[in-house]
């Protein structure tokens, strides 16, 4: 039916032209600072007036209290310690008017509640804090960071995709095997035959 083809073609062209507006927000191909590869931004904290302490690399106690309040508000686990990341230049770009000096960066670390587990690391990098202008931006590490950094030590397997599939996300792979098992059973039920296959004489 020619009418259906024409309507479908117009609809498709319309959808394709909508993508022009969406393309601005998607990061460029291969951008190392895009969200799937690095961080997910959580919130900002005003850190005006504390620059003296911050430049020495120490987070003052009042700021840490504010941080923990905000984190708890959002329902994330509380960090147990904050560590200054040495030598890192911080995230993308520089603050307005800060020049080229290296921005400070901190990593906040979490210790899980049961320390008797000897199969998972005792400490785990969770938050990444960075100073941009007058504010502190708090990011959360993408979970991939943990898989990529702790993986080869916890499991003696070089291939990242295999150990994520079979070890860290092994439960999902069990469900996946059930899916393909169900597909085989479904095709067998639909295309059943009543007689045995004839044998060639």
């Amino acid at each position: 039916m020619k009418q259906l083809s024409a309507v479908a073609l117009l609809f498709v062209i319309f959808l394709g032209s909508l993508f022009v507006y969406v393309a601005e927000d998607i990061p460029a191909f291969g951008d190392p600072n895009s969200a799937p590869n690095r961080y997910v931004k959580l919130f900002e904290i005003d850190a005006a007036g504390l620059e003296g302490d911050l430049e020495q690399g120490v987070l003052p106690a009042s700021l840490v209290d504010d941080l923990e309040d905000e984190i708890e508000e959002r329902g994330f686990p509380l960090p147990s310690g904050v560590v200054r990341v040495s030598g890192k230049e911080g995230g993308e770009g520089e603050g307005e008017g800060e020049g080229e000096e290296a921005e400070g960066a901190w990593e906040a670390v979490i210790v899980p509640a049961e320390t008797e587990q000897h199969f998972y690391p005792k400490e785990q990098k969770y938050y990444f804090i960075e100073k941009k202008g007058e504010k502190l931006w708090v990011y959360r590490y993408a979970p991939v960071k943990r898989y990529m950094e702790e993986g080869p030590n916890e499991t003696n397997v070089p291939n990242m995709v295999t150990y994520i599939l079979a070890d860290y996300r092994g439960y999902d792979t069990l469900g996946e095997t059930t899916v393909i098992f169900t597909a085989g059973v479904a095709v067998m039920l639909l295309l059943r035959r009543r007689e045995k296959r004839p044998r060639e004489k």
Partner: protein
């Protein structure tokens, strides 16, 4: 004797025209074991390089599909028993869930499902995890192989309509069968007999003429 040999030569050429080519058959018979060996390599070495359970399972299944394409689906169906394949469906899932349950049992009741560190094959938790992953990949490979093969054979086998069911206008086979009530075996046998008679008739005419 001469007549039978010459008839065999014509029959083989007719068979080539239908597609059972000698070169393809020989090469396939040589290649199928190597394809299966490669599939096993991909499953087990999925930990050291690209590969894994799903990929190796599909390669294993494709060796059966290659055999069916080269030899015809009837011959491949004779070599491949459907009931044995159905057992492999569930063997893979059984291995996977079994390893998980084993970890729960071996951790003395602490609920550590699929935490391969508890399987006491070596003395380190990390190496135990690698071995547990290999076991699990073998299970996945078995299931995927069985499913891919079974789907292909179910889709490609020619189906018969049962009894006198109407098959609509376009289903020529169905209509013919419904009218005459003939099975596929009998029709094939009749066609083969007719073909042979026609060929022998042509030979006798050639002998007389030439």
């Amino acid at each position: 004797m001469n007549k039978r040999e010459s008839s065999k030569g014509e029959e083989s050429s007719k068979r080539e025209a239908k597609g059972g080519d000698v070169i393809i058959e020989v090469v396939t018979r040589l290649m199928v074991p190597f394809i299966q060996l490669f599939a096993l390599y991909v499953i087990i070495h999925g930990a050291g390089g690209p590969g894994g359970g799903f990929q190796g399972g599909v390669i294993f299944g494709s060796s059966f599909i290659l055999y069916a394409i080269a030899f015809g689906i009837v011959k491949a169906g004779n070599r491949f028993s459907e009931s044995a394949n159905t057992v492999f469906f569930s063997t893979g899932v059984y291995i996977y869930a079994g390893v998980g349950l084993l970890c729960v049992i071996l951790s003395y009741g602490a609920a550590q499902f699929l935490n391969y560190g508890f399987i006491p094959l070596t003395h380190h938790f990390e190496e135990n995890r690698a071995l547990g992953m290999d076991l699990v990949e073998i299970g996945i490979g078995i299931t995927v192989m069985a499913v891919i093969t079974s789907i292909f054979f179910n889709l490609a086998w020619k189906r018969e309509n049962e009894g006198g069911k109407k098959a609509g206008e376009g289903g020529g086979e169905g209509r013919r069968q419904a009218e005459r009530g003939e099975g596929r075996e009998r029709r094939e046998g009749r066609e083969r007999r007719e073909g042979r008679e026609r060929r022998e008739g042509r030979e006798r005419r050639e002998e007389v003429g030439g």
